[in-house]
């Protein structure tokens, strides 16, 4: 699905990604773990073509897309759930969701968009109940659901998720990650960037660990959960649980 080689990107003179190579196979849930500032969000933004790489190669579904426009990525099946949800608080839930379908504007597309919409409502019934409510009045978890739903409105094959657990209570994180498993069961491929290593490794197949713009460890989720470096660096206060 996705193959990245020697990717370098940054902002002005600041090089954030220093030669990243990774791959995501179809149907996989892959996570990229790393501390704040490691370059995780930049990596997702570069895959989504929001940031242009200075070097390297991104192959999506077999095509080189490192110079593609962001809308090309969306229309071809790669959607981003951005960090911090980035909803329009003064618009309703339904309006926010519909915005995600901006690539579907034809008459027949409308039908498809409606199908997507009802799928999202069935996955997150709470959104159906609150579809006319302003997005800004929702709880953090509900807002995250809207952000995921909005990305799903373009019917992506690859979903890029930027810290979906950020600022959420553990029980809500569970709900969100359960939804990720459901999406995979429906045929989606998912790449999640996370700081909450423990939670995400419970649902991911594989993971990479990123440090200061470089990948340093790769492995099956189970392997990473048991890797002492990962434990020390990313499992934070949960470390005790693992050592006891």
């Amino acid at each position: 699905m996705l193959k990245i080689k020697n990717l370098e990107a940054g902002y002005d003179k600041l090089k954030v990604l220093k030669g990243i190579s990774l791959h995501v196979n179809s149907g996989e849930i892959v996570t990229i773990l790393g501390a704040n500032g490691a370059g995780k969000s930049t990596l997702l933004n570069t895959i989504a073509s929001l940031v242009k790489p200075t070097e390297g190669e991104v192959r999506f579904k077999g095509r080189n897309v490192q110079t593609a426009r962001p809308d090309y990525m969306v229309t071809n099946g790669c959607a981003l759930v951005p960090e911090g949800r980035q909803l329009f608080p003064a618009m309703t839930v339904r309006e926010n969701l519909i915005l995600g379908a901006y690539t579907l504007y034809g008459r027949r597309d409308k039908k498809i968009a409606n199908e997507y919409l009802s799928e999202i409502y069935s996955m997150f019934p709470v959104l159906d109940a609150r579809k006319s409510q302003l997005a800004g009045t929702l709880s953090g978890g509900e807002q995250q659901m809207v952000a995921i739903g909005r990305a799903l409105m373009s019917g992506p094959d690859l979903l890029l998720m930027d810290e979906p657990s950020m600022g959420l209570a553990p029980i809500i994180v569970k709900t969100i990650f359960k939804a990720v498993l459901t999406l995979r069961a429906r045929g989606k491929t998912i790449l999640i960037v996370e700081q909450n290593a423990r939670a995400v490794l419970e649902i991911a197949d594989r993971g990479y660990v990123m440090e200061t713009g470089m990948l340093v460890i790769e492995g099956d989720a189970g392997e990473l959960l048991n890797n002492n470096d990962v434990k020390r660096a990313y499992l934070g206060r949960d470390y005790k649980e693992f050592t006891d």
């Binding site: 080689k5 470089m214 340093v216 392997e223």
Partner: protein
């Protein structure tokens, strides 16, 4: 059978992506955590971020046994000791052994790699596997043991048992596979013959041999005498132990587990990388080992990469069976000895430059060593037999205590060893395959 189809038959294109990813991560790790590699890279002004493809691998420096010996004991480890759960080492007959550590995850990977080897030769959960390798510092015993258990085979750790006991186990427990050195298998065949036991009465069908080079001739001898199918496999303690490369049912070379080890063949003189099909020295880079990663490690073993694909369906490339060494290292029943070590011992005893020759023959499967030593003329002029005997004893004692070797020692007159035109004595005469 193919143990992990997902990996062993992966598309070459996907394999290359995986190798590049893992290589880059390994480089990031060793540059940060192992001063040996950091210093080497810095000295040669190598930016690890410049390694962008497998072709760039050849820009990295080669490393050798000596580099690792200088890191004795733990300096080449890439993780703190608290993360290490197992420590093996090379035989260290040359003084300093190479100490190799494993994390929990390294052990898991190692067991699966050995699982590939065992599956490939037909061992499965129904097999009774008799392991006659040493369960000690060397990796043969425990390496195969864990791999066989992972497969669910019944494992009989039979190392250290004397041969009659081995045969009793083999017959009574109905072992179906024997894992040992090829020499030991031959020894078993000899004893079976002496005991009048027909190998057909045994359940043994598979032999998996390694730890020393063995010829096709020896293979067919073992096969016909033990009535089994014999397979080769390749591994080095420094790299991981058994599990680096293995034969499949077609026995047309050994598949390298390329998702974990990148193999190159170099010209040992020019150090240039050789194309597929050309014979040279095997060089390995590990790309998944956490505790003890190796970058472009020179094995000293001579082989080549066999071009083309194998009928078994594995996409991993094959290396030819090891045809020799680039140095004069001798592999005697699984132990590594250099003639220079014997030279050093003799020098220590005699105090002068010794002239000697090592003659290796095969007796009942094992290597028999004869050490011929030229002694100084005054030995004979004094005609002191006692002194000569004493000298022999000292050599014998030193050989067995320092190098663990048992040799027949023959003292001979000066200038009696055959010399070539360059006045050089060939130090080793290996008649084991004759």
């Amino acid at each position: 059978m193919i143990y992990s189809r997902e990996w062993e038959t992966m598309l070459r294109e996907d394999l290359h992506q995986l190798q590049v990813e893992r290589l880059q991560m390994t480089l990031n790790q060793v540059y940060r955590n192992v001063s040996l590699y950091k210093d080497l890279f810095d000295e040669q002004n190598i930016e690890i971020t410049d390694i962008k493809s497998l072709d760039d691998l050849s820009r990295l420096p080669l490393t050798s046994k000596d580099d690792l010996k200088q890191s004795y004991p733990y300096k080449a480890f890439a993780v703190p000791l608290r993360d290490i759960v197992r420590i093996h080492s090379t035989s260290g007959t040359s003084g300093t052994p190479i100490v190799v550590g494993y994390t929990k995850n390294d052990l898991n990977i190692w067991s699966s790699l050995v699982g590939r080897v065992l599956s490939s030769v037909g061992i499965d959960s129904h097999s009774l596997v008799q392991i006659a390798f040493d369960y000690s510092q060397s990796t043969g015993g425990l390496g195969f043991h864990y791999g066989a258990e992972k497969l669910g085979a019944s494992v009989i750790p039979a190392s250290g048992e004397e041969v009659l006991k081995q045969i009793q186990i083999m017959r009574d427990y109905r072992s179906s596979a024997l894992i040992s050195t090829p020499g030991y298998a031959l020894h078993i065949a000899n004893v079976l013959e002496k005991q009048g036991i027909d190998p057909q009465e045994l359940n043994l069908t598979i032999g998996l041999f390694g730890a020393e080079p063995w010829s096709e001739k020896l293979r067919s001898e073992i096969e016909s005498r033990l009535k089994i199918k014999a397979f080769d496999n390749y591994g080095l303690t420094e790299i991981i132990g058994p599990g680096v490369a293995y034969e499949c049912e077609h026995r047309c070379g050994l598949h390298v587990s390329e998702d974990h080890f990148i193999v190159e063949v170099i010209d040992p003189k020019t150090l240039e990388v050789l194309p597929e099909g050309e014979e040279g020295e095997l060089v390995f880079t590990t790309v998944t080992k956490h505790a003890f990663p190796l970058i472009r490690y020179r094995t000293g073993d001579i082989s080549k990469i066999i071009p083309g694909t194998c009928e078994c369906g594995r996409t991993f490339r094959r290396i030819a069976r090891i045809s020799g060494r680039i140095d004069d290292m001798l592999i005697i029943d699984g132990n590594n000895i250099f003639p220079s070590q014997i030279e050093a011992l003799l020098f220590e005893i005699e105090g002068v430059e010794p002239h000697f020759q090592i003659i290796l023959t095969r007796v009942e499967g094992f290597t028999a060593i004869e050490l011929k030593v030229e002694i100084t003329p005054d030995f004979f002029s004094f005609d002191e037999i006692k002194r000569a005997e004493d000298f022999k004893h000292r050599i014998d004692h030193y050989l067995s205590t320092r190098l663990g070797l048992h040799a027949k020692i023959t003292l001979i007159e000066p200038q009696s060893l055959g010399r070539t035109s360059g006045e050089k004595i060939s130090r080793v005469v290996d008649l084991r395959e004759e």
